[in-house]
Symmetry: C2
Subunit: 285 residues, 2 copies
């Protein structure tokens, strides 16, 4: 029987540490602030935004949302970004991806100020994450995976970790962060020949494929730890992960639920990055 490992205790612990740090900052007259620069109003973006604003509010991080029209020009977008980059008041900038096609995402990600880039869009921060250089920021969701593993005392070093999915938002950074923790990593994706057997050799299986209930019981080694990053809506309108939870939990020694798993930790990592950004910008780190 599997132990269901939830995100909330992890988020709570991070929150209680952050509240202390933010109190100290405020006692020095410094208030951390996040600005979300959103184009259009996609339901996914709005859902994440609500969670982020809620988390920031609870912690005492100021927030601002700038909503730009779906058809905003590249020039207007860059003008807003430039303002945020320069503003002494704003410590962290969050931009939802993908941006509409008429905007040049590859240009924009290079222009977000690296020291305010709290979800690791800028190649500078991706590079630092790849190297394991802690002076930058690492992508929130994959970082939440590492925090969960550490919170539940799961030793990563030397473990066979398989990551399903190779996106820049989830799979690739998750693999790099696990490698930096000295796991033996394997990355699978749609071109993988034998994904079932590759998954089945993992001690720790991290799934970020974006396919509802993709990972079945026979994909999982008896006693493996299964971390589900997916968040999907099934045909009945229910939230579910990339793992067939009800069946896989019979084999896994530990498994994260969806909802209530990694997703509950992501906004805490975002908040942690905002506080870090605030400290960097105030020469306190």
């Amino acid at each position: 029987m599997s132990r269901i490992i939830k995100g909330k205790p992890v988020a709570d612990q991070i929150s209680s540490e952050l509240i202390k740090e933010i109190d100290i900052l405020k006692s020095h007259g410094i208030e951390p602030k996040l600005c979300i620069l959103r184009v259009g109003a996609r339901p996914d973006d709005l859902a994440y935004e609500r969670g982020a604003l809620n988390r920031c509010k609870k912690l005492g991080i100021k927030t601002e949302v700038i909503e730009l029209a779906e058809n905003v020009s590249q020039e207007e977008f860059l003008a807003e970004l430039e303002k945020l980059n320069k503003s002494n008041d704003v410590n962290g900038i969050l931009i939802f991806k993908p941006l509409p096609e008429h905007l040049d995402e590859s240009k924009i990600k290079n222009l977000i100020a690296p020291e305010k880039d709290v979800d690791c869009l800028n190649p500078v921060n991706i590079g630092k994450m790849t190297e394991g250089d802690k002076t930058g920021f690492s992508t929130c969701t994959p970082t939440a995976v590492i925090e969960m593993l550490k919170f539940y005392d799961i030793d990563i070093r030397g473990k066979d970790c398989t990551v399903i999915g190779a996106s820049m938002v989830v799979g690739k950074p998750a693999a790099l962060l696990l490698l930096n923790e000295r796991a033996t990593i394997t990355v699978c994706h749609t071109s993988t020949k034998d994904i079932v057997n590759t998954a089945r050799k993992a001690d720790i299986l991290v799934v970020g494929a974006g396919v509802a209930r993709l990972v079945k019981e026979d994909w999982v080694k008896e006693g493996a730890i299964v971390i589900d990053i997916g968040i999907n809506v099934d045909e009945d309108g229910n939230l579910c992960g990339d793992v067939d939870f009800e069946n896989v939990k019979k084999k896994a020694s530990m498994i994260t639920p969806v909802p209530g798993g990694v997703g509950s930790v992501t906004t805490s990592i975002l908040a942690k990055n905002i506080v870090k950004a605030c400290k960097i910008q105030n020469n306190l780190l």
Copy 2:
């Protein structure tokens, strides 16, 4: 019986393409130039430098070597780097790592101009390499591995590729470049539990561990392709790779020799990056 795949034909093909490109640049009055900024005179650095200078000379790339004393101060080093960053004459800058301990390597790598960073020290270029963004530069030796595989018509997509070694110079970038070519990648290192069996499942085994003749016959699947990035001097003073070549070649379908393998391609990749840098700086790319 194994086919021994050598680096020279790969280097020759890259060279002949570069000569054409450089001729065109010269017809526009543009001469690509590399500057090597070397601290001290380590034999390894000098060996690589000779190879690089030789390659550049053959191709018509101008070169300059700035040798700084082993005890050069951080300020003096940065002053030299700043001059090269600003010089209109210099297209590519090569700095040998590791730098002496009194120099702040992490600061220096952030200060090398990304558009002149032809061996991918700056996190911006590491980030772009991680993302698969071709506007940057990727580390020369791992890129040479990919060029060799492509030259010998080895299909990478969907192949099980195991990389032994997780350094930022070799293993980690090799794994990322293979992943970007859609291989299923596994990265092993000194913390890996069962390196022999992990290596043995690879269709393509890439070895950059820095240990003479580490990989034995029983580490290799019958018919695997073995790429040896290592370069070591054995107890008899002979150059050898990280693979026990004489024994492993009986099992591999293709294998690179050392010397004469990947190492022969690296300076061609460097030259390719210098020409690319030159084009970027002249708005020709």
